[in-house]
């Protein structure tokens, strides 16, 4: 009797084809969209792409790695600032500086982890917030990047608006695809299975020979890299950076919101969450404080009633899975 491990299912194969078509349509947007709106659509997409990438990384860290952090904005801002410094002071093309900023964020996650990993659970969450505050205050005191009030990305001054926006748009598209692909492939690999084992029961996983410490560090670094990528990209689009904007806890708050509403621990969840967030943002953000209040209440209610988020609820009801990472044992004779 032979046993096979199956991963994809008819729904996921259809989804893959659909995604491919969607990607093609999106990539050619600058060419077919009506003149006036192309610019604003692209800007909106870049913004939501940053939110989404950041949320995916937070999901990887918390939903799969089991490490709930309220301090990922440290890497978001760090990536942004490194990109800016490379662009303004080292003459590096900002679009090239984006992945470099991400790399820097990934690298600095290593020493940070020495401190952060001393804590567990809820204490880990708040500890990471403290670390993010240290990042913020540090950058706020460096006058070379404008101190507390921040500075502008001057390195892009020479390029015309249309080209800049199109390039940023494509970069954002690439980031979204890369983020999804990275997480999906990682989880399908043997390391991904190890990660799920750790999440469920650390002690048991260790007794099976899994290097728990190494895995957690790997996930933390990857999440930091992704966070830095989102940050660097955001500020290429935004052109102006400041410590309060770069290291604001709101980034993590929104990421948590998207992941929790959409569904934690699965890939489709943050996608659903990001779409809902974008829609809410578009229609209600004019209401300022009431809007934020509403978001907070929504997060509370969804957490209490739909523990698995909206996608998780659908998944339980219908068994749908577009990005299946579960392995099914199929016995064949």
């Amino acid at each position: 009797m032979s046993v096979q491990v199956h991963r994809s299912n008819p729904n996921s194969r259809r989804a893959l084809v659909g995604a491919g078509v969607l990607l093609l349509v999106a990539a050619t947007l600058p060419f077919w969209a009506p003149a006036g709106s192309a610019s604003s659509w692209m800007r909106e997409f870049v913004e939501i792409a940053c939110y989404f990438t950041f949320a995916m990384m937070w999901n990887l860290l918390a939903g799969y790695g089991g490490m709930v952090s309220i301090g990922q904005q440290a890497f978001f801002g760090f990536g942004g600032y490194v990109m800016l410094m490379l662009g303004n002071f080292a003459g590096v093309n900002p679009f090239v500086a984006v992945p470099l900023g991400a790399l820097a964020a990934g690298l600095i996650a290593v020493p940070v982890s020495f401190v952060a990993f001393r804590l567990q659970g809820g204490y880990f969450a708040i500890g990471t917030w403290v670390i993010a505050e240290v990042f913020r205050l540090s950058f706020a005191n460096v006058s070379a990047v404008g101190g507390g009030s921040g500075t502008s990305l001057t390195a892009l001054r020479g390029i015309d608006k249309a080209t800049r926006e199109t390039a940023t748009f494509w970069m954002a598209l690439a980031c979204v695809v890369a983020a999804i692909a990275l997480v999906y492939l990682f989880l399908r690999s043997k390391r991904g299975l190890a990660l799920l084992a750790i999440r469920d029961d650390e002690v048991a996983a260790e007794s099976q020979g899994i290097d728990v410490r190494g895995m957690k560090l790997a996930v933390y670094v990857v999440a930091a890299f992704g966070g830095g990528l989102a940050g660097a990209l955001y500020f290429v689009g935004n052109l102006r950076i400041s410590p309060d904007a770069a290291f604001s806890v709101n980034w993590t708050a929104f990421a948590i919101f998207m992941v929790v509403i959409g569904g934690i621990g699965c890939i489709e969840g943050p996608m659903v969450g990001a779409l809902i967030f974008w829609a809410l943002n578009k229609f209600f953000s004019d209401y300022g404080t009431w809007y934020l209040l509403g978001l907070g209440l929504l997060a509370i209610i969804v957490t209490m009633r739909f523990k698995q988020g909206l996608w998780g609820w659908v998944q339980q009801r219908r068994g749908w899975s577009l990005f299946p990472t579960r392995r099914q044992l199929v016995t064949g004779d």
Partner: protein, 262 residues
């Protein structure tokens, strides 16, 4: 709250600010001394904390720290924006008719402010009260038993949900007290909450988890560290406190007077 039920209340600082604003608002409505208002707020806080735990927070408890974190985080956002809506972003405070400027003269021409002294007295009294509550009362025994082994505690007849709610109620009495004192000491604005949370957290880690006196010592050390930082350069005051916290975490992660096991 963390010791008894492993619940991380990310909104703790915001609840303190909420308490401060409640005191400020009541002062505006009723013509009583601020100290009387603060005393009246305490039983209200007790009831509020009990209700909050039973209705909202009890359902978030479990092995996974995420639900309680998300819900309290959501509460933090709700409180901040509610206060912003009701009171605007202008800083407010409680007038104590000059109490906050009075001082005692000590030998060596050092003068110590009356209000800071009073706050220190409250802190010491509160710590002693908590210590007594946990170690010498039946309720404290219930707290410890339920936190050790919820299943067996229920076997003895203890109602875990009720015990948790009482723990939160006690916590909220302290939160209300802290809020009133904070408003007397300095100005408060709706977004001050998170920083207070971080300070409280740092004090617990520096002092050692599971020890009430340890937390008091940790808080004093943190305060002194921040003041030293402020003296060196105003921009680095709080940063310096954070760095010392991280240093303690690196060098002696269990804190100065640790008591709990993990």
């Amino acid at each position: 709250m963390f010791g008894v039920m492993r619940l991380t209340n990310t909104a703790q600082g915001d609840f303190i600010i909420l308490g401060a604003y409640a005191a400020i608002a009541s002062l505006g409505a009723v013509a009583l001394s601020p100290w009387v208002i603060a005393a009246l707020l305490l039983p209200l806080a007790f009831a509020f904390g009990y209700g909050l735990q039973r209705q909202v927070l009890n359902s978030t408890l479990g092995r996974d720290p995420l639900p309680s974190l998300v819900v309290t985080f959501g509460l933090s956002i709700v409180i901040q924006n509610l206060l912003l809506q009701l009171f605007s972003a202008d800083p407010r405070s409680i007038e104590t008719e000059g109490f906050n400027t009075q001082s005692i003269s000590l030998p060596g021409s050092i003068s110590v402010g009356m209000l800071p002294l009073a706050i220190l007295a409250f802190a010491v009294a509160a710590t002693a009260a908590l210590q007594w509550l946990f170690n010498r009362t039946q309720l404290g025994r219930a707290f410890r038993a339920v936190s050790d082994d919820k299943e067996i505690a229920e076997l003895m007849g203890l109602n875990a949900h009720h015990v948790y709610a009482l723990a939160t109620a006690v916590a909220f009495v302290l939160i209300a007290l802290a809020g009133a004192l904070q408003a007397m000491r300095t100005t408060v604005s709706p977004s001050d909450g998170p920083l207070l949370l971080l300070f409280a957290f740092e004090a617990v880690i520096i002092g050692g988890m599971g020890s009430f006196w340890g937390t008091l010592v940790g808080a004093l050390l943190l305060g002194i560290t921040q003041q030293i930082g402020f003296r060196i350069d105003p921009g680095w005051g709080i940063w310096f406190g954070h760095i010392v916290f991280l240093a303690v975490l690196l060098v002696r992660p269990q804190g100065l007077f640790p008591k709990t096991r993990g």
